[in-house]
Amino acid sequence: MRQLQLPAFEFTEKQKEFRKEVRSFLQAEKQKGTFDTHADSWLSGYSKEFSKKIGAKGWIGITFPKEYGGQARSTIDRYIITEELLAFGAPVASHWFADRQSGPLILKFGTEEQKKFFIPKIVKGECYFSIGLSEPNSGSDLASLKTTAEKVDGGWIVNGMKTWTSGAHHSHYMITLCRTSQQDPKNRHGGMSQLIIDLKSDGVTIRPIQFLTGEHHFNEVFLENVFVPDNRVVGEVGNGWAQGLTELAFERSGPERILSTFPLLEEAIRLLKEKEDHRGLMEASKLVSRMWALRNMSIGIAALLEEKKDVNLAAALVKDLGNSFEQSVAELIRLLLPAMPSKHAEDVYARMLAESILHGPGFTIRGGTTEILRGIVGKGVISA
């Protein structure tokens, strides 16, 4: 089955040098106390100062064209930055979605005015985006969404509600998928459009949804007669569903689907070495082997994406397997190094163990549940 055959990719010397540069920077920042390592930092670690520092290095939107402030570097360079940030558990949540999804979407489908307006700010780490997809009655069945945009003179009036919106309380904008024409039962994916909503607009109300730890990452976003000017529609009216799908392979196969709990694994292995616990290291080495295998898949996909190949099936598999792996880290490690996990522990190990366990349920839900992914792959292998 050719679609499952991923190539071996070897980083060039230049790319290894670049990794070293990113790592040295992060090491220095960490020693200065700019940030502490946390598990699952890409969803929960907000720091405007840190995002600006990363932006100043040119490491946000590094693949974006130079004319809009990007570096026009390869997706492999972006991959390296992403990996290092996650391995350090650095606070990258503020700019995460703008770098990963919104920027590329605007560059691919946006108008020249939109590119000139948004991209330079994204690149500087000063402009954050949220993704407005899920609704209270449209979770996995996203196509059933109800938020509407009605055409008026000069723009659109949006009414509806989005939920599980990560970081809306920090973000400036939300790319909102809404219905711009009546749902056609014969074409469930038609009639939807992507609108950039300024979250400071009149009619926008953001309310926190507390995560099970009591922390605030998710929000409900209420949209009541929110006016969105014509120039804030992304791409074609009615083509929102198809546009949204194009970046999914990046989203699903990236290192954030494998490395969310890696800082815990690294710390555990450091402790096991300190204790000279050979048996414990043996067990931990099996987790490392799994991570290595999944990383090889993920890098293989990144290499194929660079060549513009279709990798949707393999990308969905990375997310499914990677998320299970992320959850399995805490489940094995807790047996190797017993402790009382606590979010408030001074001990870094006990704190990251708590973070990894408590954030665990989210891994296999966010960005498409495991069940939805398995349906996609199951159907994909049948028709391949």
Binding site: M1, A8, K286, V381
Partner: protein, 353 residues
């Protein structure tokens, strides 16, 4: 993938599709050596792959060897190709020239192989081979002797897949030659080759298990629908597809590292992965096939039994995890540094400094 490699893979695929059939495998299990299959493999130069032409070999490199072994696993070919390739390379390295024979190496680790009469246990295809290269420990060095297998007393035994793993007993070692390696080094070299061979063969076997499962889930109807329409079945297919994709990526990276500084660690991780996930694939496939998959008649077991057998051969998860644990303990590097092959400057990623 380079063109040469894919050409060789396709060629071998064609040969095995014609000659490593279900019927051929069944006759093999009844005790009939797959002579025409083996003859074709020899005539295609596959047994001498990786050996320079001036030494009587067929050229090619190790990536080709492992690419072909994947195809061997995909067709569950009842032949000891990996073992013979290694034995031939061993002779080419130590004797200069090789005559193409059905031979394997055997490391005399068992106590029964120290004194005459020598008894070697679990010799692959022992009943069919021409000769066995016995590697023994003498003082601190390794030595080898070439023993004519045809004069040995054979006790038949087999692994879970009915591949022969026989005992050979003989009283005369014949001429013994010293190697420039310790027994441990020589054994480790073989273990790495065998482990990566099994990684390649298990990748191929997983691929066939997935293909059989896809076929069956389209063919079989229940409740008025083909099986693949059921979510529970789609989840089984996904579990298998995930491991197949992971196996491909693992094999590609590990075989590219063979004979480099990274080989030991990468082969260890690769074998742990494939061994650990062999049963993820086998179990999902059997559940999907239900009753028919448990019968001798259906060929699913030709692949699942091999997965169960091969996960133990060339070191299982415990063997390689033990090696990795020692490696971690002995070095300063963090895991992240070793995975990325880039050393940080001062303290390490993820550390608590």
């Amino acid at each position: 993938m380079n063109e040469m490699k894919s050409f060789i893979e396709d060629t071998v695929g064609k040969i095995l599709r014609d000659l490593s059939t279900k019927e051929q495998r069944e006759r093999f299990e009844e005790g009939e050596w797959a002579s025409s299959l083996w003859k074709t493999i020899q005539e295609s130069g596959l047994t001498l792959l990786g050996i320079a032409e001036e030494k009587g070999g067929g050229g090619g490199d190790y990536e080709d060897v492992f690419a072909i072994l994947r195809v061997v696993g995909k067709h569950a070919a009842p032949v000891p190709l990996a073992e013979v390739i290694y034995a031939n390379q061993f002779l080419a390295a130590h004797e200069g020239e090789v005559e193409d024979k059905l031979r394997v190496v055997h490391f005399a680790e068992e106590s029964s192989s120290v004194h005459s009469p020598y008894k070697l246990i679990n010799v692959p295809y022992g009943r069919y081979i021409d000769e066995v290269i016995v590697i023994r420990q003498e003082d601190h060095q390794a030595s080898y002797s070439i023993v004519n297998a045809l004069v040995c007393e054979i006790e038949k035994n087999d692994n879970l897949a009915a591949e022969p793993r026989d005992s050979l007993t003989f009283s005369n070692l014949g001429e013994t030659k010293k190697l420039d390696l310790s027994f441990k080094e020589a054994l480790e070299d073989y273990k790495k080759f065998l482990a990566l061979s099994r990684v390649a063969m298990m990748t191929g076997a997983m691929e066939s298990v997935l293909a059989l499962s896809i076929f069956y889930s389209k063919e079989r109807q229940q409740f008025g629908r083909p099986l693949h329409k059921f979510q529970a079945i789609q989840h089984h297919l996904t579990a298998m597809a995930g491991e197949v994709a992971a196996a491909y990526a693992t094999l590609a990276v590990a075989s590219a590292s063979y004979l480099s500084d990274l080989e030991k660690e990468q082969i260890a991780m690769a074998k742990i992965e494939l061994s650990a996930n062999a049963n993820v694939v086998a179990k999902a496939a059997h559940q999907l096939h239900a009753g028919i998959g448990m019968t001798y008649e259906h060929e699913l077991h030709h692949f699942t039994r091999r997965l169960w057998a091969w996960r133990e051969e060339g070191g299982n998860e415990t063997y390689w995890a033990d090696q990795l644990a020692s490696l971690y303990q002995a070095r300063e590097e963090t895991i992240w540094e070793s995975i990325t092959h880039v050393k940080g400057e001062e303290a390490h990623a993820g550390s608590t400094v």
